[in-house]
Amino acid sequence: MIDSFLLIGLPYAAIFIFLIGSILRFRYYGYSVTSHSSQFLESDKLFWGSRLFHSGIVVLLLGHIIGFLIPKSIIVVTSTPLWMMVIEVTAFAFGLLTLAGIVLLIKRRIQEKRLHSVTSKMDLIVYFVILTQVITGLLVAYYHRWGISWYASSLVPFLRSLIIFMPDQAVIASMPWLIKIHTISAFVFIGLIPFTRLMHFLVYPLAYLWRSYQLVIWNRDQKAMHSSKNTREGVKPVNN
């Protein structure tokens, strides 16, 4: 019963909350979507903390997503022991970077008095969840080796079964508790996104790369002015 709740109910609730919540937050509380950078208050310690954490977490997240999207190719690649070794070690190294980063960030948050005035309760929860996630992730990688392979072959089918609304918890239910915690806390993380500053990675400004440098916005829409759908008869003013 508790397994069903944690492994089926919670994931669905989390994904539902994430999808609906982020859309609502973006639409109706768009103003609140910001990264809330604290670099202005403290910059030197942030350099190490933020750079390490973000470069680590981005690689790890992408890795999980790639494994989820193309599990078969991953299984093929990891059937070569050398490749498996290389990927596993790389992933573990990035995990260590992430851990070092988040520890430095938490330390900074506690030590710097200026930061206390911009720290919310949700920030503390986020720190806790991320720390749990990174530590359990590293432990899983250490105690249950070759996770890249079994993630693709055993855990991804469970995740996919959720997506197609035919949840099958049999695979994961028999897995070690460490992996269960990592999975459950991952869904908690996803469910938290709309309520925290985690929203910022959904608005990563990639579009900047292909927009022109200057941006001019007119109150008066030049095109609309000349092709007005105004139904009233008479001459439309072209100038005021």
Binding site: H54, A207, W218, R220, T231, R232, N239
Partner: protein, 496 residues
Amino acid sequence: MDIRSQIAMVFHLDKCIGCHTCSIACKNIWTDRKGAEYMWWNNVETKPGTGYPTKWEDQKIYKGGWVKNGDKLELRVAGKPTGLTKLYHNPDMPVMDDYYEPWTYDYDHLFEAPAGSDQPTARTISLVTGEPIDVKGGPNWDDDLSGTPDYGRNDINLRNVSAEDQEAMFQLERMTMHYLPRMCNHCLNPACVAACPSGAVYKRGEDGVVLISQEKCRAWRLCVTACPYKKSYYNWSSGKSEKCLLCYPRLETGQAPACMHSCVGRIRYLGVLLYDADKIKEFASCPENELIDRQLDIYLNPFSEKVIRDAKKNGIADSTIEAAQKSPVYKFVKEWKIALPLHAEFRTMPSLFYVPPMLPVMGKMENGVYESTTTNLWGKIEESRLPLQYLANLFSAGNQDKIKEVLKKLMTVRYHRRQVTVNDIEGSLLDDAFESTGLTPDVADAIYRLTSLVKYDERFVIPAAHREEAIEMIESTDDRKGNTGFGEKKGTRRVF
């Protein structure tokens, strides 16, 4: 030709008395809030001095503005794609200590302190942490040359002023200074707009005011780095960047911005300039010594029939064209050419121009005596106490001739008015002055008049905003009627 209208400004530095009324007017309206206490959208600096934030002009430190890379014009560090690598941590962003930690005083203690043998004091309390702090600096810590060894001497504009002149500038009896009120320049080629990854910073088409959409800002902070004037500020509490909005709600109702309206010395002028937006890229990337001339070229003559025709075709209102014709800024900048942009070498094409200061009119001292005994009533411009190179570094990208031209014109106006009122100027001196500057007595009188006599309506020529009519053109007002509540952009119809 893509004609647009820009609200532009002129500050007459000879008239600035450094009273900071502009800064206070701005603060009271816009930045008296949590997270914005340290922001001075408008501030007044003493020159020579290091300004606010400290040494803002030194782009080796702050890495703002545009640079020419071969033929291409690029942002120094904040552009594409390098800007995106700075989101996690931006090494080129000023932090609170480059400005100052905002503080208040523990006034409560004056009333609540228990009886004792000492007078109770109101200690300084940080507005960030709420704890007592030792104040180490403020936005105008170097006012009137105070702390010169730390501030004035470190002014980056002294870099190519001769050691001798520098020494003279800081001798007690010879020292000289002037004020430099600063605010957002609402540039034609704004670096902050170009640097914003979210596209939150934009230039308003109708009047050229540069604004930051608070809805779209995601605190990537690159506008702070990119603006070479450091006039985009990061609100550490709301997590949004903010900047001067030229009091656009006041402009739209025909009032001058608060800083300008409150100016005690009446140094500020505001009006419309028409310009050709197609030329921005070409002119902003011209060689450094041509920057000022090319910027003047971009502004169009609002009396020319062709310009008027093209402007109307581009949807510029008749009232805006009329305002452009009456614009005091057009006269100072384009007709008389006595106002220059600040640090044109940043290549943002600022819309704020300065009439450089002539004061003190007295020249250098010889053996402790002013040179007022010479045949000249006033010292020569070349022998001005404020080294020309210093002014040139501020207002003409280092070009001394440019600044000399302007100062000579200003001097000619003085000679002329002295002659009119006191009649003790040698005829040849005045004739020479008119001849070398190309001014005529009529123009000199016009400059004198606009400088010292005109009232509010002539200093601020603000075109109507026409927002109501803009909506009328796009959709039927009958449909629009009753759609929304007061101050609401989203509909007020009930959902669910």
